[in-house]
């Protein structure tokens, strides 16, 4: 073990960790949008939308992320869309996250008392308003712990995008350890950085939950 190796590599690793964080955040944010849309589509009462949403959720939860990633990476050029690996990676993370998020919201929506949407309907609220003003805000509050958990899971899963050459934390660790032949120190350092980010996220989640319970 040589700790000086870690010190030398640290600036690069931290820089790469920033990429890891924002790729994961972007994935979770886009995943939120997809997840809410899919969830609303499945609850809308339209049979075709429900089936399509169900297949989407089942596919992206059932197929390993690595395969989804390669699928999207190789599919886009075939249909004439030439994008950098980073875009394919964010796309794959968002689609995978969307499937999980839609299930989280589905569970949370079930927890919002049914009488509320019935009451709003009786008061003449349009359906869109019932969703945006009554159901989704409450569902969001209920889902906060699960959503923070999803962010942590996605942050860990983002290590897989190293495979398509995105220079995030895992890829950068690979590159550095291939050049200095010190994989043990470098991967240990990378592991510690992941652990620190996840710890911070978990702490943030706890604080947010407490805040929402007070409010």
């Amino acid at each position: 073990m040589k700790f000086s190796v870690i010190l030398d590599a640290l600036p690069y690793l931290l820089g790469a960790a920033v990429t890891t964080v924002w790729v994961s955040l972007l994935g979770v944010l886009l995943g939120q949008v997809i997840g809410v849309l899919v969830c609303v589509a499945r609850q809308s009462g339209n049979r075709a939308a429900d089936i399509a949403g169900g297949v989407y959720v089942s596919f992206f939860r059932g197929v390993p992320l690595l395969i989804q990633l390669l699928l999207i990476y190789y599919m886009l050029p075939l249909i004439g869309i030439d994008v950098p690996p980073l875009v394919a990676a964010v796309g794959a993370l968002s689609l995978a996250s969307g499937a999980y998020v839609s299930e989280i919201y589905r569970g949370s929506l079930n927890a919002v008392p049914h009488g509320q949407s019935e009451a709003a309907l009786a008061l003449g609220f349009p359906t869109a308003t019932i969703w945006t003003r009554i159901l989704l805000p409450q569902a969001f509050r209920i889902s906060v712990p699960a959503l923070v958990n999803e962010l942590i899971l996605l942050l860990k899963a983002s290590s897989l995008i190293s495979v398509v050459g995105v220079a995030e934390l895992t890829r950068t660790s690979q590159t550095i350890s291939a050049s200095n032949y010190r994989p043990l120190e470098i991967y240990l350092a990378a592991g510690c950085i992941y652990l620190a980010i996840n710890g911070a996220l978990a702490l943030f989640g706890t604080l947010l939950e407490r805040r929402l319970q007070e409010g």
Binding site: P64, I67, L71, Q174, G191
Partner: protein, 224 residues
């Protein structure tokens, strides 16, 4: 896709599938046994040991599986731990699973009503007997859905082993894709295959759950 490809690559893919199943089964077995042992050790009133196990679980659950594999496979030799890819893969999968299984078992252990253990103690049963005849059966019922879920997750994690060159299905598939240039078709086929595989594992698990918890519905029917 050309059907002659199936003849050419069929054996390699089958062999890869065999390695996938082997890694999954062995990884699950190691994870379950180690997870159960960790849960039991954590019950001992030894503070440093509890802290150590807790740290182990937090570290495994807080870092990506891929990083753990790299540490084991590429970092291992630096401290004299030279493992073959498949061995490293199985061990990695087992260690990764053990942290999650330990937490599942802990929840299960806590869900066994205290009164049952006290009753068994007052009947003069030894701790081993209580564990075997009271705690474990009770735990099995409450934790089975979570265990099945984790085993399905581990099925998906086996594809990550291809990155450290374990010759499992995903690895063979990538070799095939590279040699035939039918990359997209091969990956699409693989996606559909894993979708099916995970679905089968989950279904079998649900069946097992129904079987194990059968007595619960019987007894509640009897009460009704």
């Amino acid at each position: 896709m050309d059907s002659s490809l199936i003849v050419q690559y069929g054996p390699a893919l089958l062999r890869g599938f065999g390695v996938t199943i082997l890694c999954w089964a062995a990884g699950c077995a190691i994870g379950l046994v180690l997870g159960f042992a960790l849960m039991l050790l954590r019950q001992l009133p030894i503070r440093p040991l509890q802290a150590l196990i807790r740290a182990y679980i937090e570290i495994i659950r807080g870092t990506p599986f891929l990083i753990q594999l790299f540490l084991l496979y590429s970092g291992g030799p630096s401290i004299g731990l030279r493992l073959e890819a498949t061995t490293a893969g199985i061990l990695g999968l087992g260690l990764y699973g053990s942290a999650y299984f330990a937490e599942i078992f802990r929840a299960g252990y806590q869900s066994v009503p205290k009164g049952q253990v006290e009753a068994a103690l007052s009947l003069g049963m030894s701790y081993g007997a209580i564990l075997r005849r009271v705690i474990v059966p009770g735990m099995l019922v409450s934790t089975l859905p979570a265990i099945v879920n984790m085993m399905a997750i581990l099925t998906k994690e086996t594809v990550v082993l291809s990155i450290i060159t374990v010759p499992e299905l995903m690895y063979e598939m990538q070799t095939m894709a590279a040699e035939t240039f039918a990359t997209f078709e091969t990956i699409l086929g693989m996606a559909l295959f894993y979708w099916l595989l995970v679905e089968v594992v989950s279904r079998l698990g649900r069946r097992l759950e129904a079987r194990v918890t059968r007595f619960l519905s019987h007894s509640s029917n009897a009460r009704a």
